[in-house]
């Protein structure tokens, strides 16, 4: 029988005496200062399902999520929740040369590794050289030579102009200790079971069901972190996660829970924050020249879809009322308004603009057919939209849009596929419409969005795999030119001009039709810790699965009184 965990609110009378003993125990340990049991521990569910395998290798793409940000730190931290300058972490300054080929980084003094050794510029140089020399680890296409010119300075010399490498170099690379990793035989398959990092936590214990991180006593930032231990657990689905949250087993998780307000209503210690960051969009295979087929290759049809859907109803039915308005420029209107060139493009319409949609279709020659569905040259305006079976909010979107678009004479045929097939169709361009989302790039600079989804360098003809991003097969020389120009400078004024050009083009062509900025719900318990990000103070992206921001949140929160 069980000794009930003192940290749980659940009180159970399974076996009288044992339960009583457990209650006694929980009574003793409720004050945070009473010895070992009083240590503050929080439990995080970061979305991992099933069994967990050990992997704290910061270079590995299958590393456990807290590896980056919590155990290992990057030089800077790019806040995805707010429009702000990169926050210095292991570096205190950086500077590009004129040409954008040389990046000089000043590393932080007074940082020690969790094993007590000093952190130096040598470690930084070692890390980048290891990545650049090992193609298997080089997921960002880094081509640079790093050299530590003195104790606190590293110079990265790139082969070509590389302003846009900045976020991935500074903000997306965990720095490893040279004195440990120089002896690692194979950095690709290393699982690094007792990692030595600079981050606020180190690994205490691991089992396939759960792992425990404990405070790094040597952490460089005075007085942080305040929480002694962080436990990560694995759960199977939203239902078990919601059950565990309500039972008080979880302090921090990010799941979309239908009826969230109702679920949390009776529980004053539970709260949530909504940080919309991903724009749910209809991806269209838009470019007939690269092999796309179907009515959606007509820009007028895409425009009509854009105006024909009633986003308010969609938000209520599928988004749980938590979604916020998107911008046709694919820039987050709340966080990045300054990058939107023309304020007329700042937000999508909220209701359906049926008249406008119908007008667009009429002008383009799509006339109403006998069955109420429009047609042009014998082609019916009937579109197939694919989504993944089980993505219930997207399926609801499809159901609702099918109804809404019938009003303007467009037939929508929703199909549900397995994730594999859906993904396969999208990367190969074998789809008409597909629901997906756009957002969360290395930094908030729109360059990354525009380059990845709109540049013709990122696409290939239908039938080949466009896994780089541009699934719409969008190809526009004006956009390409502007992306290139924006990428070749670090001057934000120049970039803004170029982005305005891109925006003009994509708002007209609409290869991705924005629906709304989807909710990103994160649920907290204030039972064990306080100081979580909130709507008033979104100091970091709250999502429990977001790597780098996790470290910032974990060192900011404090034990509950």
């Amino acid at each position: 029988m069980s000794l009930k965990s003192p940290r749980r609110r659940r009180t159970v009378g399974v076996v009288g005496s044992l339960a009583a003993a457990a209650l006694l125990l929980s009574a003793c340990s409720s004050s945070p200062e009473s010895g070992e049991a009083g240590e503050s521990t929080i439990t995080v569910f970061n979305g991992s399902t099933g069994t967990i395998t050990e992997n704290f290798n910061p270079f590995s793409s299958t590393a456990l999520q807290p590896t980056n940000g919590v155990v290992f730190e990057s030089l800077y931290w790019y806040n995805a929740a707010q429009d702000e300058d990169p926050v210095p972490v292991l570096a205190t300054a950086f500077e590009w040369n004129e040409e954008g080929t040389e990046l000089t980084i000043t590393t932080r003094e007074g940082v020690t590794w969790s094993d007590g050794e000093d952190f130096t510029a040598e470690d930084v140089a070692f890390t980048f050289n290891l990545v650049a020399e090992t193609p298997e680890l080089n997921t960002t296409g880094l081509s640079a030579v790093a050299e530590a010119t003195d104790e606190n300075t590293v110079v990265l010399t790139f082969e070509e102009q590389s302003f846009m490498q900045e976020p991935s170099v500074l903000g997306n690379r965990g720095i490893v200790p040279e004195h440990i990793w120089k002896d690692v035989a194979d950095p690709i398959t290393e699982v690094n079971s007792s990692p030595v990092g600079t981050g606020p936590y180190t690994v205490e214990s691991f089992s396939p069901q759960s792992y425990l991180l404990t405070k790094n006593e040597n952490y460089w930032e005075e007085g942080k972190p305040a929480i002694d231990q962080v436990r990560y657990i694995s759960l199977e689905n939203a239902d078990s996660a919601s059950a565990a949250l309500l039972a008080g087993d979880i302090d921090w998780m990010s799941s979309f829970l239908p009826g969230l307000e109702q679920l949390l209503a009776d529980n004053e210690q539970l709260s949530y924050v909504n940080t919309p960051a991903l724009t749910t969009s209809i991806f269209t295979c838009s470019n007939p020249e690269l092999g796309c087929e179907g009515p959606q290759t007509d820009a007028a049809v895409r425009q009509a879809l854009y105006y024909g859907i009633d986003r308010e109803q969609l938000n209520n039915l599928a988004g749980g009322g938590f979604a916020s308005p998107a911008s046709p420029t694919m820039i987050l209107p709340e966080r990045d308004a300054r990058w939107i060139g023309d304020s007329a493009n700042s937000e999508v319409p909220s209701g359906a603009e049926v008249d406008q949609a119908e007008q667009i279709l009429e002008d383009a020659g799509w006339t109403e057919g006998s069955d109420g569905i429009r047609e042009k040259d014998g082609e019916r305006l009937s579109l197939t939209i694919q989504t993944v079976s089980g993505w219930s909010d997207y399926i609801s979107l499809n159901d609702a849009m099918t109804q809404q678009l019938a009003e303007i004479g467009v037939e929508l045929n929703p199909v549900q596929l397995s994730w594999n097939e859906w993904n396969n169709n999208q990367t190969l361009g074998q789809f008409q419409l597909s629901l997906d989302s756009i957002g969360l790039q290395p930094s908030n600079n729109p360059y990354f969005t525009y380059n990845r989804w709109y540049a013709s360098t990122q696409t290939v003809p239908v039938g080949e795999s466009a896994s780089a991003g541009n699934a719409a097969r969008y190809s526009n020389p004006i956009v390409d030119e502007a992306v290139l120009t924006a990428g070749a400078t670090s001057d934000e004024a120049v970039q803004a001009e170029q982005y305005a050009i891109i925006q003009g083009e994509i708002v007209r062509d609409m290869p991705y039709i924005p629906i709304y900025v989807n909710s990103m719900l994160t649920e907290f318990s204030t039972e064990n810790a306080v100081g979580w990000p909130s709507n008033d103070d979104p100091y970091a992206l709250a999502a429990a699965w977001k790597s780098w921001d996790n470290g910032v949140i974990l060192k900011t929160i404090t034990p509950a009184e």
């Binding site: 029988m1 069980s2 000794l3 965990s5 940290r7 749980r8 009180t11 159970v12 399974v14 521990t41 439990t43 399902t49 099933g50 069994t51 395998t53 050990e54 992997n55 590995s60 793409s61 299958t62 193609p135 298997e136 080089n138 997921t139 960002t140 296409g141 997306n172 398959t189 290393e190 699982v191 214990s205 089992s207 396939p208 069901q209 759960s210 436990r231 657990i233 694995s234 759960l235 199977e236 689905n237 239902d239 078990s240 059950a243 565990a244 039972a247 594999n420 097939e421 993904n423 396969n424 990367t427 969360l440 790039q441 990354f448 990845r452 795999s465 896994s467 780089a468 991003g469 790597s547």
Partner: protein, 329 residues
């Protein structure tokens, strides 16, 4: 001799068929692991064409190799116990993922299947002996439990006993906060406590079949002539029930048990999904979700082997308890 030969051929063919099926099926699936891993990466951060190359290198996926070569290579690897590297859990080998999940599955579902069998056969025996008693009338009810979708019943029980009344924990294999795996009372207690509700649901939904089968066999056996003889001899009813009737009546149930024991691993998939139980079933679902060929093959192989093993075991056992089998040989 013919009987033994037949059995040997059977197990060899079954083993080969399972291996081959195992090889063919995942390869027919859409998508390839590199694309899938790339798309998953893209959700977390930037993806460049270099990433693709890096991952192809990493996974060693060489789709150029002819399928026959892959088959030969695969057979060779399996026979030497090398099941490859999991994509989902890279760089963990498949055997590690299996070995850390399999004990949970066998522990939970194996034990509850045994409990269900013993209980079902015992009760079925009594019901068949005392036809028309209350126990006999319960049988249709328990059979109906079998028609209730297992996960539906389990979800309702979890909701009621776990969330509303909070008698049992709702997920996981043990209390991860208070105990750590090892041979200590706390951990073992916690495992038993966490396993009780899943076990209960399994027993509830499967006991009906055993009861009905045993009861029907018992009734049939009781009308055999040798029972009448035994009774005429004046043997005590208890002895007739156990030694004469039940012993013969249980034979088909034992044969059924062989199959069901093997399916323990297979049947665990749904149970583990409901209870977030850390077993092999949830690992299989993870593997399917990410086109993890190696892991899928490994798990399917383990499941098939366990079914074959259980059958072999019962074949041997059966020839011991049922002399007719030997006579046929």
């Amino acid at each position: 001799m013919r009987y033994v030969l037949q059995k040997i051929v059977f197990y060899i063919v079954a083993f080969w068929a399972a291996l081959t099926l195992n090889f063919v099926l995942p390869r027919l699936m859409p998508g390839n692991p590199v694309d899938i891993m790339l798309s998953k990466l893209a959700q977390r951060g930037p993806v460049t064409p270099e990433t693709r190359q890096a991952i192809e290198l990493l996974l060693g996926t060489d789709s150029q190799q002819p399928i026959l070569d892959q088959y030969v290579q695969y057979m060779g690897q399996v026979l030497t116990g090398n099941l490859g590297i999991s994509v989902t859990f890279f760089p963990a080998p498949v055997s590690q993922v299996i070995s850390q999940t399999l004990p949970w599955t066998i522990g939970l579902i194996g034990i509850s299947t045994v409990i269900s069998f013993l209980l079902g056969v015992g009760l079925g025996q009594l019901a068949g002996w005392k036809r028309g008693s209350w126990l006999d009338n319960v049988i249709p009810v328990t059979t109906m439990f079998q028609s209730v979708p297992y996960f539906w019943l389990a979800l309702i029980l979890v909701f009621l006993l776990g969330s509303v009344w909070q008698i049992f924990p709702i997920n996981g294999g043990y209390d991860v906060w208070e105990t750590s795996p090892g041979w200590n009372a706390g951990f073992i207690g916690s495992v038993i406590y966490h396993g009780t509700l899943p076990a209960l649901t399994i027993v509830l939904s499967s006991i009906g079949g055993w009861m009905l089968g045993m009861r029907n066999m018992m009734v049939s056996t009781l009308s055999e002539d040798y029972i009448v003889t035994a009774e005429a001899k004046g043997l005590r009813p208890r002895r007739i029930m156990t030694t004469y009737a039940a012993r013969n009546a249980v034979l088909p149930s034992v044969a059924g048990f062989a199959i069901s024991l093997g399916f323990v691993v297979a049947g665990s998939i749904v149970t583990e999904a409901v209870f977030s139980y850390p077993g092999i079933g949830s690992a299989l679902l993870q593997a399917v979700g990410s086109n993890d060929y190696a892991l899928m093959q490994g798990i399917f192989l383990v499941i098939t082997l366990s079914v074959l093993g259980a059958n072999l075991l019962v074949d041997l056992l059966y020839s011991l308890i049922d002399p007719r089998t030997r006579a046929r040989a």
